[in-house]
């Protein structure tokens, strides 16, 4: 009798622990909206909300790729640098006379290639993804610096800058791109075979291998996705600033990882939430915006975001530990 009750409780606990992080994030976001609207009359205006969506879109695009990588039990530290490299490649191509569309395609391919490099080395040589992507990060920064000679490339045709600050009704292309990718990522991660394998890679790679699935292929695809997402991020940031800088996207990998973890995806892999990632990106975007709206100096912004990352990781760890202890009983 006692035993049954416990199993039921375990089930309930596990079920809620799946949705709980996202529900809490949304709740907190609502409270933050109320708090900020009460504190400042400038927060809850369409212009400002548009700012938040606009700014968050870049983080969302990168963090979606990162969600796949982390769910598969990996990590990708190269995304910020790959974003910069792709942006620089697009810019260099346009400077060389190529039209905007082809240049963008070229940049995306570069992103994909860097991802493929990450994935291949990690999968075939079985090297820790942390080290591999750290290497690719430095390599990409280096290439971006070499291509530009350290000097930012600027002044692009309207066809290109449209991707950063064009208008589609009340929205702009980055927001719509982020929204589209969100839906796509949610469908792929939750409903497709590829998504299932991604989670299985993180959950139990050995079992997946024994069932005859090509681990290498799927691992590489996961990193390619992250590379392409980074390149799309590079497109957005380059087009928005109308400048391709070799040092663009500095620390963007940290922001992406923070959002993914905050959104409830497990650093151990095997569990991923697209909705959580997107909510976390919006929450972080709102926090950054709110700190400026409240005129809080940038020192504190760094500090707050740092503490949040730590808190999220610690709490996630503690919670998963608790669940385990409960089941073991």
């Amino acid at each position: 009798m006692q035993k049954y009750v416990q199993t039921d409780l375990t089930k309930i606990k596990l079920l809620t622990s799946h949705i709980f992080p996202q529900l809490l994030l949304i709740l907190v976001m609502l409270i933050m909206v109320i708090l900020l609207s009460v504190t400042s009359p400038f927060f809850l205006t369409w212009d400002n909300l548009r700012n938040i969506f606009d700014h968050s879109s870049l983080y969302i695009i990168l963090a979606l790729g990162m969600t796949f990588v982390i769910s598969s039990g990996g990590i990708d530290l190269s995304v910020g640098a790959v974003a910069a490299l792709s942006g620089v490649c697009m810019a260099a191509a346009m400077q060389g006379g190529l039209e905007a569309g082809l240049s963008i395609l070229g940049g995306l391919i570069v992103g994909g290639l860097m991802g493929a490099a990450n994935g291949s080395i990690i999968s075939f040589l079985k090297i820790n993804p942390f080290i591999v992507t750290l290497g690719v990060m430095s390599l990409s920064r280096g290439l971006a610096l070499i291509i530009t000679g350290g000097i930012p490339i600027y002044g692009f045709p309207r066809d290109f800058t449209w991707w950063g600050n064009g208008h589609i009704g009340p929205f702009n292309p980055p927001m719509l791109l982020a929204a589209f990718l969100t839906v796509l990522a949610a469908v792929v991660l939750n409903m497709s075979r590829f998504g299932y394998y991604t989670l299985a890679l993180g959950g139990n790679e050995e079992a997946l291998r024994r069932s005859g699935v090509s681990i290498h292929l799927y691992k590489i695809i996961v990193y390619i996705l992250s590379g392409v997402a980074a390149a799309l991020g590079g497109l957005v940031v380059t087009a928005r600033l109308n400048t391709a800088e070799p040092l663009a996207g500095w620390m963007l990998e940290m922001d992406s990882i923070a959002a993914v973890v905050l959104g409830g995806t497990s650093m151990k892999g095997g569990k991923g939430s697209v909705a959580g990632t997107v909510t976390a990106c919006l929450l972080l975007g709102m926090l950054r915006n709110g700190l400026v709206i409240l005129s809080i100096p940038s020192y504190y912004q760094q500090l707050v975001i740092g503490i949040i990352i730590l808190a999220a990781v610690i709490i996630a760890e503690v919670r998963s530990g608790k669940n385990l202890a409960f089941i073991n009983k």
Partner: protein, 376 residues
């Protein structure tokens, strides 16, 4: 102090909210107490109260500073109406650089003096162009009458300035230029500009170096800031022009130090490795010049090498007095920021302003550093 405490309260609230989000499960206290404290008046209003306490003795101005302020005020006449309480936002580059920290203080002090409300915001780091734009966007969403902006790069703030233009917020560009060409293309404009003549900063420093090297000349090096940034390019170009024109002076290296102490330190060490007979190093800012001095000191080669920086930050002031640094190019940050606010006020009140205002410069070296006592 009050201001900081209040900000800390809001910040703690935001933090506790997010910690709560992550599932730490202390839902009872954080959000509720938050809304009570959150309704406090806007944090910016505290600036005035705070400043009065800080300046009881009245500003002590060096003789040089008074001279310079006079020159600049003549450029700005007729002066606008003061004590009108206008809200003006200032966007600087980063508080991770002492120069911009002084600039922030300069703005706040000048705000007191002119009787207006000034709020200073910044990007988290010197290279974070994206965050700086995001900060400007959020500032435009507020109710400033004017924003004085100093961009990291000529292009990164352009979309934000266009938004400000549309909302009728006056935009003054202080320091590094916002590309007016790019701005025009995006459908925006600047309401005013105040800057330092960067080339002149470089050439002033280089002239001093050439004079000190004497007729036999020698090898010189330039440490730039972030390549492409206006100050960096201008100062390097000005110095380069003078060095190239001088006889027997050879530029052996021009390297980007990215305004970063550590990078500059390494560059200086490398230059010394490659050219043990280096005679002078011109760094595009003081932080890098101080790093170069440290690097040479560490290698035991500080003697006989002339090192100059730009900005005359207080650390450089001390270093020049101690003989650690040979000189710097000064312009008073207080006068500079005050002039920018006066320009902003003039545009808000509908005055015409000159196309471009330059902040006057002075070369500081061990010979004249005494005249700069009390300089800010």
């Amino acid at each position: 102090m009050k201001k900081i405490i209040k900000k800390m309260v809001v910040f703690m609230l935001l933090f506790s909210l997010v910690a709560f989000a992550a599932g730490c499960g202390s839902p009872s206290s954080a959000p509720i107490s938050g809304e009570e404290n959150g309704t406090d008046p806007a944090t910016t209003e505290e600036i005035n109260e705070e400043g009065i306490e800080e300046t009881p003795a009245g500003p002590v101005m060096s003789s040089k500073a008074q001279e310079i302020e006079q020159v600049l005020m003549e450029q700005l006449a007729p002066l606008p109406e003061f004590n009108t309480g206008e809200k003006i936002g200032a966007l600087i580059i980063t508080l991770a650089n002492p120069f911009w920290v002084s600039m922030k203080e300069g703005y706040e002090k000048a705000g007191e003096e002119l009787g207006i409300e000034v709020t200073v915001m910044a990007a988290p780091t010197e290279g974070d162009t994206k965050s700086q734009l995001e900060t400007l966007d959020a500032m435009v969403a507020r109710d400033y009458a004017a924003i004085v902006a100093s961009p990291i790069e000529p292009f990164n703030l352009v979309p934000g300035v266009v938004k400000a233009n549309k909302k009728g917020i006056k935009v003054i560009n202080l320091g590094p230029p916002i590309s007016e060409e790019a701005l025009e293309e995006a459908g925006g404009y600047l309401d005013g500009k105040i800057t330092v003549n960067y080339e002149e900063q470089g050439s002033l420093a280089a002239e001093y170096i050439v004079e000190k090297l004497g007729p036999e000349g020698g090898k010189v090096a330039i440490i730039q800031g972030i390549p492409g940034a206006g100050q960096s390019e201008g100062r390097a170009a000005g110095a380069k022009r003078v060095f190239e024109a001088a006889e027997n002076v050879e530029i052996v290296s021009i390297q980007p130090g990215n305004w970063d102490r550590n990078t500059a330190y390494n560059i200086a060490s490398n230059i010394l490795q490659a050219h043990p007979d280096i005679r002078a190093i011109f760094s595009c800012n003081d932080v890098m010049a101080l790093a170069a001095a440290d690097a040479l000191e560490a290698a035991g080669k500080r003697e006989g090498v002339i090192i100059l920086g730009v900005d005359f930050i207080s650390e450089a002031h001390e270093a020049i007095k101690e003989g650690k640094l040979d000189g710097s190019i000064a312009y008073s940050i207080n006068i500079y920021s005050k002039a920018a606010l006066i320009l902003a006020l003039k545009t808000v009140q509908g005055h015409d302003i000159p196309d471009e205002v330059y902040s006057p410069l002075a070369l500081v070296s061990k010979e004249n550093v005494a005249e700069f006592a009390g300089w800010e």
